[in-house]
C-alpha cells in the first residue's frame, strides 16, 4: 500500500493543534455553533442522507436489476465505498472544525477549489430539489378534497364529454402533465410562468428559510419532525399496504433474486452510483455538520450507524413502495381481465355470469375458432400480472403518477394522499437543510458578504436568489429543465469531488497524520479495514464509477422524453433529441463545478507567484523585543 504523501509545508500553521482544540473545548471560547445534543446531530445527518432517492430511485433499481440479487452489489459497495467516505468526511470536519472551503484550504491553500466546487454543486442541486418540493406541496394542497382531483377526468367546456387528452391517457397522467405542470411539447417551448406553481415555490422557499434562518439552531429543532415523520408514515403505509389485495405479490416480485443480473456491469455501476448519491457525499454539508461536534465525538461509530440506517431505509422504503405497486398492478390486471370478459360477453350476447376467469381461455379459444373476425375487432388486451409489475417507474413518475393512482383506489384516499406527500415533503426538506448548509458555510468562509451582516440576512439573500433562479422550473418547459439538472448537475462533479477528497486527505494531508488525529479524537487508531479502503479500495471504486459514467454519458445520444399529445404512440412519452444549445447548458452544469478545482488551484498558484516576485525587494530582518523603545541589553 502506498505510504507516500505529497510535500505540504506550513500545514501545521493552518490547522488548529491538539492543545488549542482542547482549550477551545474546555473553555468554550469558540463562537462556532454547537449541537444541542447528539440526537440532533444524528437526526440531521440521517435526514440529509435519507432523501427522495431512497423512496423513488432505489426501489426502481432494485426491481430492474434482479430484485433480491441487487442487494449483494448494493451492500458490498455500501461497505467498501459509502462507509469509508462517510467516516472520512466526518473525521476531517470534526478535526479541522470548518466547513468545506475552510477544511480544504487548511489542508492546502490550492485546494480551495474543492470547497468551491462543493458549494456550486450544492447550489445547483438545491435549486431543482426545492422545485420538486414545491410540486409535492402542490399535491398536498390539492389532497384536501374528496374525491381527489386526479381520480376523474375533467369535462369539456360544454359538458358533452371528457377532455380528449385525459381520455387518451389517464386521469393521473393528465393531472400531472396538464393541470400541474401544463407542460409544453419540447424544451424549446418555454412558455410562461405557471402562477399556481409559483405560489407553491414561494411556500417551499419560505418554509426552508424559516427552518434554516439561524443555521443549526433552527434546523436542529426542525429535524425532530422532518427526520422521524417519514419512518412513521412508511410504517403506516406498510401496515395499510399489507392489507390490500396483491401487495404481497409486489413484495415477492421486488425481492425475487435474478442472480444472472450480477454478471451485468451496469448493475454494479448503478449500485455504486446509488450508494454514492444516497449518502449525500461531496456536498460539503456533512463536513459542516460534523464540525459542530465536540472534538472527541466518536465519528467512526456515527459513520457506521448512519450508513446502516441509510441502507435499512432504502430497503424498507422499497418494500413499502412495492407493496403499493403490487396492489396497483393487481387492480390493473383485474380491470383488464374484467374488461376483456365484458367485451366478449357483450359482443356475443352471452349470459352475464357464464364467462369467468376460470373458463376464459377455453371460451376464447372456442369463440376465436368459430367467429375470429368478431373477436379480432374487439381488440382484446393480453393481461399479464408480471408484465404490469415490471413496468418499473422511477423519479417523479413513481410518486406523482403511479403512487397517486394507487392511492385513488384505496378507501379514504385523501388521508393516504396527505400522508404520502407530507412524507415526501419531510424527506426533501431535511435533505435541503444539508444543501443550504453546503452553500451558506462556504459563502461565509469565502467572505462574500461583509462580516457585520447578520446570519439571518445572508440566509435570506441566498434563499431569495435561489428562488428567483428557480423560476426556470415553473415555466411550461420546467419539468424538462428539472430532468436536465437531475441528470447532469449532480452526477459527474460529485464523483470528481469525492475522488479528490480521498486523495487530498490520504496523500496531501497525510494518512499518518489523519490516523493520529483519529486516535486522538476517539481513542483508538483506525483499523486495517479503514486503512485499506481509504488508501486504495474506495478511490479505485470512485475512479471506476467515474470513468464508466463519463464514457456512458459522453457516448450516448442526448435525448429526453416529452409529453406530446400529437405523438403517434401517445400516451407513451416521446423520446426526442435535445436541441443543440442544451449541450452548452450541460457543459456548464457539469463542467463549471468540476473545473472549479483545477482553475482555482491555478489561479491561486499564479497569484502566489506574482506576490513572491513583488516581495523579492524586501530584506529579511529579525525583530527584537524592546520596552519603551529601549532595547533591554543596552542598560
Amino acid at each position: 500500500m502506498p505510504r507516500f504523501s505529497l510535500p505540504n509545508p506550513g500545514l501545521e500553521d493552518r490547522i488548529p493543534s491538539y492543545e488549542e482544540l482542547e482549550k477551545r473545548e474546555t473553555e468554550e471560547v469558540d463562537d462556532r455553533p454547537k449541537w444541542d445534543n447528539k440526537a440532533q446531530y444524528m437526526l440531521t445527518c440521517v435526514g440529509f442522507c435519507v432523501g427522495l432517492g431512497n423512496v423513488w430511485r432505489f426501489p426502481y433499481l432494485c426491481q430492474s436489476h434482479g430484485g433480491g440479487a441487487f442487494m449483494i452489489p448494493f451492500l458490498i459497495l455500501l461497505v467498501f465505498e459509502g462507509v469509508p467516505l462517510l467516516h472520512l468526511e466526518f473525521a476531517i470536519g470534526q478535526r479541522l472544525r470548518k466547513g468545506s472551503v475552510g477544511v480544504w484550504s487548511s489542508i492546502h491553500p490550492y485546494l480551495k477549489g474543492m470547497g468551491i466546487a462543493s458549494m456550486l454543486v450544492s447550489f445547483l442541486i438545491g435549486l431543482y430539489y426545492n422545485s420538486i418540493i414545491a410540486l409535492v406541496l402542490w399535491y398536498i394542497f390539492n389532497s384536501f378534497q374528496e374525491p381527489l382531483p386526479w381520480s376523474k377526468c375533467p369535462m369539456t367546456a360544454n359538458n358533452t364529454g371528457f377532455v380528449d387528452e385525459c381520455v387518451r391517457s389517464s386521469p393521473v397522467d393528465y393531472y400531472w402533465y396538464r393541470e400541474t405542470l401544463n407542460i409544453s411539447t419540447s424544451i424549446n417551448d418555454s412558455g410562461t410562468i405557471q402562477w399556481w406553481l409559483l405560489l407553491c415555490l414561494i411556500c417551499a422557499w419560505a418554509v426552508l428559510y424559516v427552518c434554516t434562518i439561524r443555521g443549526i439552531e433552527t434546523t436542529g429543532k426542525a429535524v425532530y419532525i422532518t427526520s422521524t415523520l417519514p419512518y412513521l408514515v412508511l410504517t403506516i403505509f406498510l401496515i395499510r399496504g399489507l392489507t390490500l389485495k396483491g401487495s404481497v405479490d409486489g413484495i415477492i416480485f421486488l425481492f425475487t433474486p435474478k442472480v444472472e443480473e450480477l454478471t451485468n456491469p451496469t448493475t454494479w455501476l448503478d449500485a455504486g452510483a446509488q450508494v454514492f448519491y444516497s449518502f449525500s457525499l461531496a456536498f460539503g454539508g456533512l463536513i459542516s455538520f460534523s464540525s459542530y461536534n465536540s472534538v472527541h465525538n466518536n465519528c467512526e461509530r456515527d459513520a457506521v450507524i448512519i450508513s446502516v440506517i441509510n441502507g435499512f431505509t432504502s430497503v424498507y422504503a422499497a418494500t413499502v413502495i412495492y407493496s403499493i405497486i403490487g396492489f396497483r398492478a393487481t387492480e390493473q390486471f383485474d380491470a383488464c381481465f374484467d374488461n376483456n370478459i365484458l367485451s366478449l360477453t357483450n359482443a356475443f350476447d352471452l349470459a352475464e355470469t357464464s364467462l369467468t376467469r376460470g373458463n376464459y381461455d377455453e371460451v376464447l379459444q372456442y369463440l376465436n375458432s368459430t367467429s375470429p373476425d368478431i373477436v379480432n375487432k374487439l381488440d382484446l388486451k393480453t393481461c399479464d400480472l408480471q408484465n404490469l409489475l415490471s413496468q418499473g417507474v422511477e423519479g417523479t413518475g413513481l410518486a406523482f403518477i403511479v403512487f397517486t393512482e394507487a392511492i385513488t383506489k384505496m378507501p379514504i384516499s385523501p388521508l393516504w394522499s396527505i400522508l404520502f406527500f407530507v412524507m415526501l415533503f419531510c424527506l426533501g426538506l431535511s435533505s435541503m437543510f444539508g444543501n443550504i448548509e453546503g452553500v451558506l458555510v462556504p459563502v461565509e468562509d469565502l467572505k462574500l458578504f461583509p462580516k457585520n451582516w447578520p446570519k439571518e440576512l445572508i440566509t435570506g439573500l441566498i434563499c431569495l436568489v435561489c428562488f428567483f433562479l428557480a423560476f426556470i422550473f415553473v415555466i411550461n418547459s420546467g419539468n424538462y429543465w428539472l430532468a436536465l439538472f437531475d441528470t447532469y448537475a449532480g452526477s459527474i462533479p460529485l464523483l470528481i469531488i469525492a475522488f479528490c477528497e480521498m486523495v487530498a486527505v490520504v496523500y496531501i494531508y497525510g494518512i499518518d497524520r489523519f490516523n493520529n488525529d483519529i486516535e486522538w479524537m476517539i481513542g483508538h487508531k483506525p483499523n486495517i479495514f479503514w486503512q485499506a479502503t481509504w488508501r486504495v479500495i474506495s478511490p479505485l471504486i470512485m475512479l471506476v464509477i467515474f470513468l464508466f459514467y463519463l464514457v456512458i454519458k459522453v457516448s450516448e445520444e442526448l435525448t429526453y422524453i416529452t409529453w406530446d399529445p400529437d405523438y403517434e404512440n401517445f400516451p407513451n412519452l416521446a423520446e426526442v433529441l435535445y436541441p443543440g444549445w442544451v449541450s452548452a447548458v450541460i457543459v456548464l452544469l457539469a463542467g463549471v463545478p468540476s473545473l472549479a478545482i483545477p482553475c482555482t488551484a491555478l489561479f491561486l498558484f499564479i497569484r502566489n507567484r506574482c506576490r513572491k516576485d513583488d516581495e523579492r525587494g524586501l530584506v529579511p530582518s529579525a525583530s527584537v523585543a524592546s520596552v519603551n523603545g529601549i532595547i533591554n541589553n543596552e542598560i
Binding site: 384536501f144 352475464e352 439571518e456
Partner: protein
C-alpha cells in the same frame, strides 16, 4: 249475418296476423327503427339480482310507454312497445309504434328524446344505473362536475403561508430578545470585570498600600549593599 261476422273475424284475424308480421318487418337486429338495450343485472346487484322474466319485460314495456307518453303527450300503450331478439345476455331490441297505426314505427329520434327525458326514473325503476342499463346509441348525459376545487387548495396554501409568517415573526422576536439578553449579560460581565480590575488601582499602585499607616521602603533608593560588594 253469420257470413258477415265470419268476414269480420277473418279480417280481424288477418289484421293481427298482418300486424304481427308487420312488426317483425321493423323489429330486428340492425333495424333503423330499433334500439338495442343491454342489461347487466349481476354487475349492478350481484347476489341480489332478480330474474329477468316476462313480468320484468312487461315492466320495461310499460316504462317505455310512460316515457313516450310524457315526451309526446300522446296516449301510448304497453302494446305499442315491441320487443324482439332477446338473448341470454339480457339484451334485446325494441321498437315503438304509433298507437293508431301498427304499421308505422316511430323514428329513432323521437324514442331517444323520450328515453333521455325520463332516464333517471327509468334507472330507478329497475334499481340500475346508466352503466348497467344501456341504451346503445343513447349516451347518458354526464353529471356536471362541481368546481370549487380552486378554492380548496388556495385555502390550504393560505393557512400554511400564514403559519410560516407567524413562525418567522416568532423566531425573529425570540432571536432579538435573546440577543438583547446576551448583550446585557455580557455588558454586566464586562462592567464587573472592569470594576474588579480597576477599583482601587491608581497609577498602578494599589490603594491598599497607600492606605496603610506603616511605611514602605522604596527599594530603588536604597540599593541593597549586599549585592554590590566587590
Amino acid at each position: 249475418m253469420s257470413f258477415g261476422i265470419l268476414l269480420l273475424a277473418f279480417n280481424l284475424f288477418l289484421a293481427t296476423e298482418w300486424g304481427a308480421t308487420a312488426v317483425s318487418h321493423f323489429c330486428f337486429k340492425g333495424s333503423p327503427y330499433a334500439h338495442k338495450v343491454r342489461i347487466s343485472l349481476n354487475a349492478a346487484l350481484g347476489d341480489q339480482a332478480y330474474v329477468w322474466d316476462e313480468c320484468e319485460q312487461f315492466y320495461f314495456q310499460a316504462t317505455v310507454a310512460y316515457g313516450m307518453r310524457k315526451s309526446m303527450n300522446k296516449p301510448f300503450n304497453v302494446s305499442d312497445v315491441h320487443i324482439c331478439a332477446e338473448t341470454k345476455r339480457i339484451s334485446f331490441y325494441f321498437v315503438v309504434t304509433n298507437s293508431s297505426d301498427l304499421s308505422k314505427p316511430l323514428p329513432k329520434t323521437a324514442v331517444e328524446e323520450a328515453i333521455r327525458m325520463v332516464r333517471p326514473r327509468f334507472n330507478n325503476a329497475f334499481s340500475l344505473d346508466d352503466r348497467t342499463l344501456e341504451f346503445l346509441g343513447i349516451e347518458p348525459t354526464l353529471a356536471p362536475h362541481s368546481e370549487p376545487s380552486v378554492m380548496v387548495w388556495l385555502i390550504v396554501f393560505g393557512v400554511i403561508m400564514g403559519l410560516i409568517v407567524v413562525g418567522l415573526i416568532a423566531i425573529t422576536i425570540i432571536g432579538h430578545r435573546d440577543k438583547i439578553k446576551k448583550t446585557r449579560a455580557s455588558k454586566e460581565r464586562d462592567e464587573e470585570n472592569e470594576d474588579k480590575s480597576l477599583s482601587g488601582i491608581e497609577n498602578g499602585i494599589s490603594c491598599n498600600t497607600l492606605d496603610g499607616t506603616e511605611g514602605h521602603k522604596n527599594e530603588a533608593l536604597y540599593p541593597d549593599d549586599k549585592l554590590t560588594q566587590l
